[in-house]
Amino acid sequence: MTLQTLTYLVVGASFALYIGIAVWSRAHSTSDFYIAGKGVSPLANGMATAADWMSAASFISMAGLIAFLGYDGSVYLMGWTGGYVLLALFLAPYLRKFGKFTVPEFIAERYYSKTARIVAVICLILISFTYVAGQMRGVGIVFSRFLEVDVTVGLTIGMGIVFVYAVLGGMKGITYTQVAQYCVLICAYTVPAIFIAIQITGNPIPQLAFGSEISGAGISLLDKLDDIVTSLGFTRYTDGTKSTTDIFCITLALMAGTAGLPHVIVRFFTVPKVRDARASAGYALLFIAILYTTAPAVGAMARYNLVNTIQSGEVGAADGNLVYDERPEWMHTWQRTGLLSFDDKNGDGRIQWYNDTNPDFAATAASYGWQGNELTVDNDIMVLANPEIAGLPNWVIALVAAGAIAAALSTAAGLLLVISAAVSHDLVKGIFLPDISEKKELMAGRIAAAFAIMVAGYLGFDPPGWVAQVVAFAFGLAAASLFPVILLGIFFKRTNKEGAIAGMLTGLFFTVGYIEYFKGLFLKWAGAPWGENVAEHWLFGISPEGIGVIGMLLNFFVAISVSYLTPPPPERVQHMVEQIRIPRAIEG
């Protein structure tokens, strides 16, 4: 059977499974639609949260990013897992006790204000749409490479599948589909990693192979990698180039952002009890950790394989590099997608891959007769091409395609659901039509979900050039706007309406402003970016990726100061805070 037929079969079977689950778990009430009727077991919710959380970025891009960044890639590993500690300690159990449907609803009731609710909805929609655009791009890449269909056709199929189970099943359908998607994606991620780990080190567990000796070489994988990459002018793999301040801030922004992402928080509304919410956060992180501790091993092994393929002999020797005409089959395939390209600058018919931006290495490179780096490789292909690079059987490649699609679809569905809930529950029911019947609200939710899918699809067809950069934006925004006011709402009773609104707006405008100033995502038409995005110009040496931390601190500071300058929240709100702090209902 050819690879393509096999891929169609595996991906088709996974789609059939998702649709089957959606039909079986249809939503019948608004409670089913928004929070799966609060009937999800903590273990199932942990798996669903893991699939919800691990997006196309985690599955496709992260290991590749780490492969090229080395130690600096740690910000993603720690940032995107450590946030669950904040979630478990500060938010999940209390929001579960609060027991309503959406994040803006909590903010509306805790801060007794429709204005606060609208501000929260705006933050939520900004965060979720930027995020969903990235998922759709992931679906597009996978379809165009593995199924060799037009991106448009691929996206339409993907949208259709999400449409069926998100619109029909709501949160209930999404939850059980995500459980299945987690199983697909984790197999797809670990199986090739195990094969490659055995090939390189003989140890089948990637987390251990990562620190093992290379078979027959008598030197550990990481030491060998450090040696080769430094001999090519790159920074040592286990060292970074970012400043400690910047690493610190990016990690913290990603953590607080994770804890403030509405589509993650809302997953903890679906379990029956407060103690389930606590356990569920643990299970979620455990399931996430399986992928997140494998990813750095995959990154290091992929870098090792790639550098060995290109630098087939001694560095600097005339015959030390791969002959272009003899390049392996997988390079031909990926060249066609444009994600991998060569340029024989010194005309020797061989490929050189080295750091031509390192001034200290320029003389050495010149003495080798190298006239510039000749290989351009996109981060995104490292995981997808890994099975081909390692020469694994076709069924593994097909599995990886199904896994990447599962990762992208599960996250997209979770995001679309929080967007639709914010529209139907917070805007329609909460603000414009408070008397709407449950049946009509459910219909409004389905229409909003359908509409959100169209917008997401459009963003996928025509991805704005900045898709790769919006991750920073979504996390920075979540860290600077929603996270602080939810936290204060639970832990600091004195915070009032005025403080929360002022805090959210300060965090929002500061963070958006800073990112626009250096990156210019939405305000290109107004002349953004205005500043050159280099370390010398950054505030306290913090890059736009990490600036959410300052936004968050400003939010805390403004919210607390304004609260003290204005009247305390009413008695009933203070009583509500007392209630959510305690798992069991208290009398009086």
């Binding site: 606590r278 997140y292 798992p583």
Partner: protein, 85 residues
């Protein structure tokens, strides 16, 4: 449940949260970022120790911290009689 009891439960909770946060901070920001160069001079199998904390160890500890917190909180719930039925 008396208001005093409630306050005591909340204080115990905050203490536990603080302890967990210290662990969370030390293994990631401490060992993985601020002290990474110092720890990198220590070998841990085929790893430099600081690098291992940044890319592996901190994640394992995060998982442990959450389960520890959940376990201790469930005990507190029982002690103060606020466990849900």
């Amino acid at each position: 449940m008396t208001p005093e009891n409630r306050a005591a439960y909340w204080r115990a909770n905050l203490q536990l949260v603080f302890g967990c946060l210290v662990l969370w901070f030390v293994c990631s920001y401490g060992f993985g970022i601020l002290l990474v160069d110092v720890l990198n001079s220590v070998r841990f199998g085929g790893f430099r120790l600081g690098f291992w904390f940044a890319q592996q160890g901190s994640i394992y500890i995060f998982v442990g911290v959450i389960f520890f917190y959940a376990w201790r909180m469930n005990k507190l719930d029982q002690k103060y009689g606020v466990r849900e039925d």
